[in-house]
Structure formats: structure tokens, C-alpha cells
């Protein structure tokens, strides 16, 4: 007996309606680069943004006109499909200004960079980045900033007042923590936290830019962009050398401050905000991150020491830890050239970075990867099993963990965590296989695939405009699925399947 239900017209209406709203939100976001282009008299760039903004509104309002659902509450499947589908449509719309800028060899390359930005991955195919306009650079960093918070979160914040079922879209975007009882208020709180950090971060990063010899306007523009990319754990930078461009330990140190903060759970930020500061040392993700970053840091340092890559301790620690923490928080800021990773870093150091990239940051943050919560849960489950083995048969072994409140470890949570981790590992394997099929050495393909899987953005040189379209497309799908944590992508695929085979 077949239980798959063919989607009704009403399903398409609901999905089209909310996708339209989200695309309109994306169109509004184009005002930032448009105003930047106008402020710097980049007239041709401004025209490109007017075209792109108009296309976004045509699509957004067009969808709203043709999709007028009778009810505005969402089912779980609809919410998930809206989240994943709107990211795909957003990728196409967001790629327009890129493609019009002549900095891309193809529309696929432009779409790759948009998905990389949305998913806060940070890998780029852009050409001649050092000559990119301020308008386009603003768009690159706005995209990654929006992606970090989530496009659905953006729409919930500014375009929806009281959407029934909004929580389902929110979950579809891999955020499942309600800081406040109302999901729209939660979305707004996420944005308030981010905007507060934006002001402080831009000021601090800009002042450091001034102190290292940059001109004031460029110092603050770069400060803004680097903050946006760091806080969002995106890893984009306005210059092709990434953070190496600045040749400054202080500049790098300030980026660490913000990308580590960005990789923490918004719930943790909120808890600290409302005075629950002990959450910082008790929270399972904070503890997990402290442990894994220290252990993997040791592996990287030992690996670099073994390979003799750096001549002194200070250099080794600066380069080694920066890359490690950048990878672990899934930021992808890079203070060495990608090829140096491939040619000069030994296997052990790369193993440490690969593991860190896969582990990733916290749940409900801007970071990707398995997430500290899942690592912590799996570890706790292991401890529980060992305790069960050692305890008397009649004993009931209960394991607890701190996650905004004290939570009892349940088998269902562990199973879900393991399932997601297995899916990430499978995707890592798939990306590696396609990399090898595309002609890259296994070691390099493994590294790059881990970077894509965890939405990190560190590169050892595989990602370039010259790589085959098959690999570009695979990486786009991986970035998207990884950021969505699979479920909403699977929901979209299921929805399409039901459309074809359902009754």
C-alpha cells in the first residue's frame, strides 16, 4: 500500500507565499550594497543592484500574487520545504549582481559564491577579488551576515508579525531553540544580539585597521566586512589574501574574539545577556568546544612541530591555533595560502584541522559542522553506557547535561544526534569521492570536502573557478544540505517525490 500523498494545490500556495516573502526580504537586503555603491559613486554597480532588486521583487511579489493560500498556518513539511526551497531561490536571485559584475566566469560560479555566503562557508570562485567594487563587497558580506542569522530568521524578524507555524520554518533552517516563548520574538532577539555585536565589532575592527596603517574609510569598511564574515563564521574577506592581507597579529586576534562568539549558541548569548553567566562554563557546548579545541590544538601543534613547518614557538602557535580555531568554529579565515596547507603542513596537523572542521561550532549559532551539542550528547551517551555496565543490574543510570537548563539524556536525543553525524560523515565521503573523481589527490579532496561539509571555508587549493562543474555542483548541494542539517532538504526531496509518485 502506498502512503505517499500527492501535494495539493494548497501546499504549493503556502510554500509559494512564504517563499515570496523571503525573496522580498532578500531584495530589501540589496538596499545595503545599492546604497554603498551610490555612496562611493559606483554608478554601474548601482544599476546592477537596481536590476537585481527589481528581479527579486518581481519574483517575490509575483509569488505572492499567484500563491494565495486559504490558511496561513504551516504544516511541518511545508515549513521545512519553505526553508530549503527559499534558500535555493535565494541563491539564484542573490547571484544576479555577482554575475552582472563580470567577476565570474559563469552563472554557476556566481551561484556557488552565493550559496557559500548564505551557508557561511566562505569558499570563493570570484575572479580578481582585489579589484572588486565596494558595492559587490558589501553584498558578499551582507549575504554571509544574513546567512549566519538565517534568511527565515530575517523574514520572521522584519516581515512577519505573527505567523502561525513560523516555528516550523525556523526549525527548517536548523534552528530549534526558542529563546523566548514566541518564535518571532526569538528571531528578533537573535537579530538584536547580532546588531549589537555588529556595532561593537565594526568599531573595534575598524580601530585596529587604523592602527595598522589603513586609511580611515577603508579601515572601517574592512572592519565592517571582516566583522560580518567573522561573526557569521563565514570567512569571506574583501581581499584575495583573506586575513593574511593585514599582516597583523592584533587584527587576527580581534577576529578570533568575534568568530568564537559567533560560533556560540544564540541561547548562550541570551543566557549571559539575562545574567546567567555560569552557563558559560556549564553549558555542554561550551565545555565540549573547550575540550575539543584544546585537544585538537595540541594535535595541530604537535603535527606542525613534527613537520618543522614553523621556526619558532610564537609563529607555530599563531599560525597553528588561528587555523585550528578558524576551522573549529567553521569560520574559514585563513592566514596562510591554501597551497601552503597542502604542501607544508604535515598529515597530523591536517588531521587535527579536518577533525575540528567536521566537529564545528554550536547548535543555533552561525556555525556549521556536527555541532558541539551532538559531540557532547554522544560522549555523554558513551559515559552512560559505561556507567550502566558497571552499575548493579537493578540500578537506573541517569545522565544529565546542562543546555540552558539541566536536561536528562534521552535515547531519542542520542539517536537523532548520531543520525545527523552519520549523514554528515556520508556527505563528507561523497564530497571526497567526487573530488577524487575530478582529479584531485585523496588528501586534498578529504580536506576540502571536510571544509565544505562543515560549512568552514578553509581551502587547500582545490576550490577554484577551474574545477569541474560536477564538483562545483556537488559542493553547492553539500553546503546547502550541511547548513540545513539535512532534514529540510530531505523534506524538499520527499515533497518532490510525492509530487511525482504520490496519490
Amino acid at each position: 500500500m502506498r502512503l505517499v500523498r500527492r501535494p495539493h494545490l494548497e501546499d504549493f500556495r503556502v510554500i509559494g507565499h512564504y517563499t515570496g516573502i523571503i525573496i522580498n526580504g532578500l531584495g530589501l537586503a540589496m538596499l545595503a550594497p545599492l546604497l554603498t555603491a551610490l555612496a562611493f559613486a559606483e554608478w554601474a554597480v548601482a544599476v546592477d543592484f537596481v536590476i537585481s532588486l527589481a528581479v527579486a521583487f518581481i519574483l517575490g511579489y509575483g509569488l505572492l500574487l499567484v500563491s494565495r493560500p486559504r490558511r496561513h498556518d504551516l504544516s511541518w513539511v511545508q515549513g521545512m520545504v519553505v526553508a530549503s526551497f527559499s534558500w535555493l531561490v535565494g541563491m539564484v536571485v542573490g547571484a544576479l549582481p555577482y554575475y552582472l559584475s563580470f567577476h565570474y566566469r559563469s552563472f554557476l560560479d556566481a551561484a556557488f559564491d552565493v550559496m557559500s555566503g548564505f551557508t557561511t562557508t566562505g569558499l570563493v570562485l570570484i575572479q580578481d577579488l582585489d579589484h572588486v567594487s565596494n558595492g559587490i563587497n558589501m553584498w558578499r558580506h551582507v549575504l554571509t551576515y544574513l546567512g549566519g542569522q538565517g534568511m527565515v530568521v530575517l523574514a520572521l524578524t522584519f516581515l512577519l508579525q505573527d505567523a502561525a507555524g513560523a516555528f516550523k520554518m525556523y526549525v527548517g533552517e536548523a534552528k530549534d531553540e526558542r529563546l523566548l516563548p514566541n518564535v518571532v520574538h526569538t528571531a528578533r532577539t537573535i537579530w538584536y544580539i547580532s546588531l549589537l555585536y555588529l556595532a561593537v565589532g565594526t568599531l573595534l575592527q575598524g580601530l585596529v585597521g587604523l592602527s595598522i596603517g589603513m586609511q580611515p574609510v577603508r579601515a572601517f569598511l574592512h572592519g565592517l566586512w571582516i566583522f560580518m564574515a567573522g561573526w557569521s563564521t563565514g570567512g569571506f574577506a574583501p581581499m584575495s589574501q583573506n586575513v593574511l592581507y593585514y599582516h597583523s597579529a592584533l587584527f587576527e586576534a580581534v577576529t578570533v574574539l568575534f568568530f568564537v562568539a559567533g560560533s556560540y549558541n544564540f541561547g548562550l548569548h541570551y543566557a549571559v545577556w539575562v545574567g546567567k553567566r555560569d552557563e558559560l562554563v556549564r553549558n555542554i557546548e561550551a565545555v565540549s568546544f573547550a575540550i575539543t579545541s584544546t585537544l585538537l590544538g595540541a594535535v595541530v601543534i604537535a603535527g606542525l612541530e613534527r613537520s618543522g613547518t614553523y621556526a619558532n614557538v610564537a609563529t607555530l602557535l599563531r599560525k597553528g591555533y588561528y587555523l585550528l580555531i578558524s576551522g573549529h568554529t567553521t569560520t574559514g579565515f585563513q592566514s596562510i595560502y591554501g597551497r601552503q596547507l597542502a604542501l607544508e603542513w604535515g598529515d597530523l596537523a591536517l588531521l587535527g584541522v579536518i577533525t575540528a572542521m567536521l566537529f564545528g561550532g554550536s547548535a543555533v549559532s552561525t556555525a556549521g559542522g556536527f555541532k558541539g551539542l551532538r559531540i557532547g550528547l554522544i560522549f555523554k551517551a558513551l559515559v552512560q553506557e559505561v556507567r550502566r555496565l558497571l552499575a548493579p543490574e537493578s540500578a537506573v543510570v541517569v545522565e544529565k547535561f546542562q543546555y540552558m537548563r539541566e536536561v536528562v539524556l534521552e535515547d531519542g536525543s542520542v539517536r537523532n544526534a548520531l543520525l545527523i553525524v552519520v549523514l554528515y560523515l556520508a556527505m563528507w565521503g561523497l564530497g571526497t569521492a567526487v573530488g577524487v573523481i575530478s582529479g584531485f589527490p585523496v588528501r586534498e579532496a578529504l580536506f576540502e570536502s571536510a571544509s565544505v561539509t562543515g560549512n568552514v571555508g578553509l581551502s587547500d587549493g582545490v576550490t577554484s573557478a577551474a574545477m569541474p562543474s560536477l564538483l562545483k555542483t556537488t559542493y553547492i548541494v553539500m553546503m546547502w544540505a550541511g547548513r540545513m542539517e539535512f532534514m529540510s532538504v530531505l523534506a524538499l526531496l520527499g515533497f518532490i517525490w510525492a509530487g511525482v509518485r504520490g496519490k
Partner: protein, 202 residues
């Protein structure tokens, strides 16, 4: 033991384990043996030494081989001239990579135009010592240059965009405006009617 102490204990154990790992995995002895080599900044080209002409590709791909050698590197002055006291950092772009060059301030001021959206920067040629991972600069791959010369002055960059994009922008904007108005009209009607979707925000 309460949970706070528990978490702190975990962190202490982790740090100790990390230290043990470093000692255990590092086969060539303790890290403190590694010391930065003293260096005279901006040393003049020693007599009898001919700098190797290199590309950016060479510097990144053959970094170990070229490490410590005198090189000549030519490329475009990019972005910012970052003055740091009597020194300055300039990033010089080649065909694929930009390379950081540290030089005396007196040499850096020869650069007039820096590459950006509007300009191709001055083409400069630098002479200096190449470092794969400069211990004095936190491990950056760089050239510590004793001199710089401007080979070709910078120039404005042509814009490849066609002028008729303005018409496309105007046409599409009008269409977007029409759809925006239509969506508002429909929304008002539906609100007045059966209470259709009051939360669309459009």
C-alpha cells in the same frame, strides 16, 4: 561535586592532556628549543648575489626551495599602503596570488596608485629576501624588500558594462512596482473580504 566544578575540572584535565599530547607527539624534542633567528631588517643586497626573478606562483608553490633567497618580484601594488613606523606593508599582486612585501617607508612612498575597483595600481618591482614563514612576522609568507621601483604607473580601469543596462533597470523597476501595487491591492481586498492572510508583510 556541583556542575560548575565539574566543568572546570574537565577544562583542567583537557589542558593537562593537551600538554601531554604535545610532548608525546613531538618527536624532535621540546618546543622551547625553537627560537627565532635574529635578523637585520632591510639588509642591502650582498655583493655578488644576483636575485632570482620569481613569479607569485613560484613563491607559493616552491616556497621551501626559495626560502631565504634574494628574489626579484614584479606585480601590481594593491589596496593599502600600511605604514608601520619606519616600515610599510604593501601587498603586490601577481597572476594568481598577492604577496606581502615589507619594506622601508622611504621605498614605499614611491608608490602613487594602489589597485582597487577604479584603478590598476602601479606595477612595482621589489628586491628582497623571501621568507616561506617569516619568524619575525608571525610566520607570514613574505618578501622583506630593501628596495622598490615603479616600473609602470597605475591607470584607470575600463568598465566592461554596456550602457543599455540603465534601460533594463528602468523597465524591470516599473514591472516590480506594478506587481508591488497589485499585491497590495489584492491583500487589501482579501482583508476586507474573508480575512485572507493578514500577516504577509507586503
Amino acid at each position: 561535586m556541583n556542575r560548575k566544578k565539574h566543568a572546570l575540572a574537565w577544562m583542567v584535565v583537557t589542558v593537562l592532556a593537551a600538554v601531554a599530547l604535545v610532548v608525546w607527539l613531538g618527536p624532535s624534542g621540546p618546543l622551547h628549543r625553537m627560537q627565532p633567528a635574529p635578523r637585520t631588517p632591510f639588509a642591502p643586497l650582498p655583493p655578488g648575489v644576483t636575485p632570482t626573478l620569481v613569479s607569485d606562483q613560484d613563491l607559493v608553490e616552491r616556497a621551501q626551495e626559495l626560502d631565504g633567497q634574494w628574489v626579484t618580484f614584479q606585480g601590481e601594488a594593491l589596496g593599502d599602503l600600511m605604514m608601520r613606523g619606519e616600515s610599510a606593508w604593501l601587498n603586490v599582486g601577481g597572476a594568481g596570488y598577492a604577496i606581502g612585501v615589507l619594506m622601508p617607508r622611504a621605498e614605499a612612498v614611491k608608490v602613487q596608485i594602489l589597485g582597487n575597483y577604479r584603478f590598476n595600481g602601479d606595477t612595482v618591482r621589489v628586491f628582497g629576501v623571501f621568507h616561506r614563514a617569516d619568524p619575525a612576522q608571525g610566520g607570514d609568507l613574505d618578501i622583506v624588500a630593501s628596495s622598490l621601483e615603479v616600473v609602470k604607473p597605475g591607470e584607470p580601469r575600463p568598465d566592461p558594462r554596456a550602457g543599455n543596462r540603465v534601460y533594463a533597470a528602468a523597465g524591470l523597476s516599473l514591472l516590480a512596482l506594478a506587481l508591488f501595487l497589485a499585491a497590495h491591492l489584492v491583500r487589501r481586498r482579501s482583508e476586507g473580504g474573508e480575512g485572507h492572510l493578514g500577516n504577509a508583510g507586503h
